[in-house]
Amino acid sequence: MTTPPIVLAPPAPPLLELQNISLSFRGVRALSGVSFEVAPREICALIGPNGAGKSSLLNVISGVYVPEEGELTFAGRSWTRMRPAEAARRGIARTFQNIALFRGMTVLENVMTGSHLKRRSGLFAQAVRTPRARREERQAREDAERVIEFLRIQRYRDVPVGELPYGVQKRVELGRALAAEPTLILLDEPMAGMTFDEKEEMSTFILDANAELGSTVVLIEHDMGVVMDLSDHLVVLDYGRKIADGAPDVVRNDRDVIDAYLGVTH
């Protein structure tokens, strides 16, 4: 008598897959043959010494830079060259290292721009305020208010973002990215310049966004404590190359990683 074979469900395909990505700026190699995978719904941290190419990698994923070599696969579709607007349409949202908020607008307006792609009515319809335009505007505002509530920045709702303290601006930028209800969210140093308490709060927001929205997160961060707490998966870059890739506990003890941070030449 034979027992029926145990069939395990196949592992879910990675949400994001980078294969052999290379990028140069006028002869300076920013990235060399970087390959890794990000599983759906995981929080993946990209770490490494300064100048390792982390921001460049994020720019490649969001379509701001075009890699010389290599291929990206996101949600089953591959491409070698993508435009930022196209990335947005596929469900990728991001924040920037040096805060790229719209200085001339309020917090509410900034967050509302994040969900831009959900609107269908054109300029003329919005000028004459057709029922559909009005409905969409109301919906946009409700969505934005929900995000603002989630991030606890209601009191800043009508303040022009240029007047806000740094930590709050970073939160608003996260809000703008969340408003798009993205599948993948890329965060470029979301905790830079924050106090300990602010970092705690920001970590909560990221974890909640990951849990409730189901967004996959790829973040660049320098604070090791934060990285270890938040991430499921660690990728380490040094001089444009990937030198480690795996679970946080494994990577932190990796010889090459320690050497890279301590500056040992290899």
Partner: protein, 293 residues
Amino acid sequence: MQFFIEVLVGGLLAGVMYSMIAIGFVLIYKASGVFNFAQGAMVLLAALTFVSLIERGFPFWPALGATLVAMVLLGLAIERTVLRPLVNRPPIVLFMATLGLSFVIEGLAQTVWGSEVHGLELGIADTPLELHGVMLSKFDLFAAGTAGALVLVLALLFNKTRLGLALRAVADDPLAALSVGIDLRRVWGVVWAVAGAVALVAGLLWGARVGVQFSLSLIVLKALPVLIIGGFTSIAGAIVGGLLVGSGEKLAEVYIGPHFGGGIENWFPYVLAILFLLARPTGLFGERRVERV
């Protein structure tokens, strides 16, 4: 063929005149990041001051000297009263301030001097000179020579003197220049004074060529395509741009103009500039802007 060369050379020489106006812009832009819309008004003012001194019986050289002093003082005054209060503002504000400044200078000039045309004699007769069968204007050649001398003097100033070094440092990175102890306000004062002097030279040459009248301040509109093609930060670019615009304008007027009924000189340089910009968004010699995200 000969006709073509004549038109071409005529255009090139006219272009040199444009370059001289453009150089004034480049100087100020290079050192303080301001596009000085009032440069045209300054050229006009220089020409008017000189002419009225001559008409009052002053001999040539003292009149020139007095006007030079006046222009330098004007430059210093502008830096002090208009630019210093606006020092940290965005470039658009500075541009608009120079716009307002041009109105002030023009209004002042018109109130004091009225609007008649004044003749200006530099002692160079506008007689034709024949070279290899091509007719050239003696005056235009003199102007080209002056422009060349001016560029030489400026090049020496920038590259061989300590002051020039300071100017280049400020142009490159004002903050870094500050940190090595360069007095920004002195440097800017000098730059505006030099620009005033350049305006004087340009004013004299243009005034001699077309007479001293109010359309002179519209010269700035001709300089803009020159600067766009040549880039705002390069004197070499101003020369090349001027030559391109001058020759392009003349050639277009002669060869393309008749199909449109003439009068295309006004807008042709602009269309040329647009085409250049589409190919090189920062001009031929300009600095390419790198955005870090």
